[in-house]
């Protein structure tokens, strides 16, 4: 087994130290700054970006909440104003309506009174006309002259 050939040991140990030391030196001087540095840089960058994203998210969350609050307030206020106006307008309408109704009722009552008056007057005049007409008819039919008082009595008797 070549592995047990002691005569090669010194050379292998010596060169192992040389090459391993060389690689160690390379790792410390070159690899760590470049590879390790890049990884650290990237990690810091990603962590920063994530923090920033988180911070911005929280800020937007807050802004959104504030916005929603404001919106809610405004909506409530608008709602209040609208209903207030609505009530006012309703009340005004109601008043106008009652006023007009009252006016109309008064006008109707007046008109009715006038009509009644006219009717009564007409009826009263009708009594006289009927009496005259009846006297005329009696005179033509009988040739008699009927006194005005009798006529009136007779008409009143018929009309009642």
């Amino acid at each position: 087994m070549p592995q047990l050939d002691f005569s090669t040991y010194a050379s292998q140990i010596f060169w192992l130290f040389v090459t391993f030391g060389l690689l160690y030196w390379l790792v410390v001087k070159k690899v760590l700054p470049s590879v390790g540095g890049t990884i650290e840089h990237r990690r810091a960058r990603i962590a920063d970006d994530l923090d920033e994203a988180r911070r911005l998210r929280e800020a937007s969350e807050k802004a959104l909440a504030a916005y929603e609050d404001t919106m809610k307030g405004a909506r409530e206020k608008a709602h209040g104003i609208v209903s207030e106006h609505k009530a006012k307008i309703t009340a005004e309408l109601e008043a106008e309506r009652t006023r007009i109704e009252a006016e109309l009722a008064a006008k109707i009552a007046e008109a009715e009174a006038k009509t009644r008056e006219a009717k009564e007057k007409a009826l009263k005049e009708l009594d006289g006309v009927i009496g005259e007409l009846a006297g005329e008819i009696v005179a033509r039919v009988t040739g008699d002259k009927v006194s005005e008082a009798d006529l009136k009595k007779a008409v009143e008797k018929v009309l009642g």
Binding site: A53, R54, R57, A63, L64, E68
Partner: protein, 124 residues
């Protein structure tokens, strides 16, 4: 009530961003666990146990031989230290097995956590 529509950030956008951030955190935690869970292959593990035993005997024998040579007490230290080396080898095997047991234990915990996480994820 959706508040967007005018180009500003909407509730959905924010929720999506939050979900992404949380997802990133979860993934990182998972990676950490997975790294801890790397178990040795059974072949390598068996070989390790055998070498521990052989190395124990070898160390005992070599130590005894060196002491005998130094103190001129041949063969007593070899006779004394070789069995002790065997015992040391067995001790090392037990320790290795126990640490492997511990690793498996960690495995089980990690698996349970994974399961629980999946379960709660489904409920959401």
């Amino acid at each position: 009530m959706a508040a967007g529509g005018n180009g500003g950030p909407s509730r959905e956008d924010l929720d999506a961003l939050g979900e992404k951030l949380a997802e990133h955190e979860r993934r990182q935690a998972g990676e950490e666990r997975r790294r801890r869970r790397r178990a040795a292959s059974p072949y390598g593990f068996g070989f390790r146990l055998v070498t521990e035993l052989v190395a124990g005997v070898a160390a005992g024998f070599l130590g005894g031989w060196a002491l005998d040579r130094w103190l001129g007490t041949s063969p007593w230290f070899v006779l004394l230290l070789t069995p002790m080396g065997m015992a040391a080898g067995i001790l090392n095997v037990v320790r290795a097995a126990r640490s492997a047991e511990g690793e498996r234990h960690l495995d089980a915990i990690a698996a349970a956590e994974e399961e629980a996480r999946k379960g709660s994820g489904k409920k959401e």
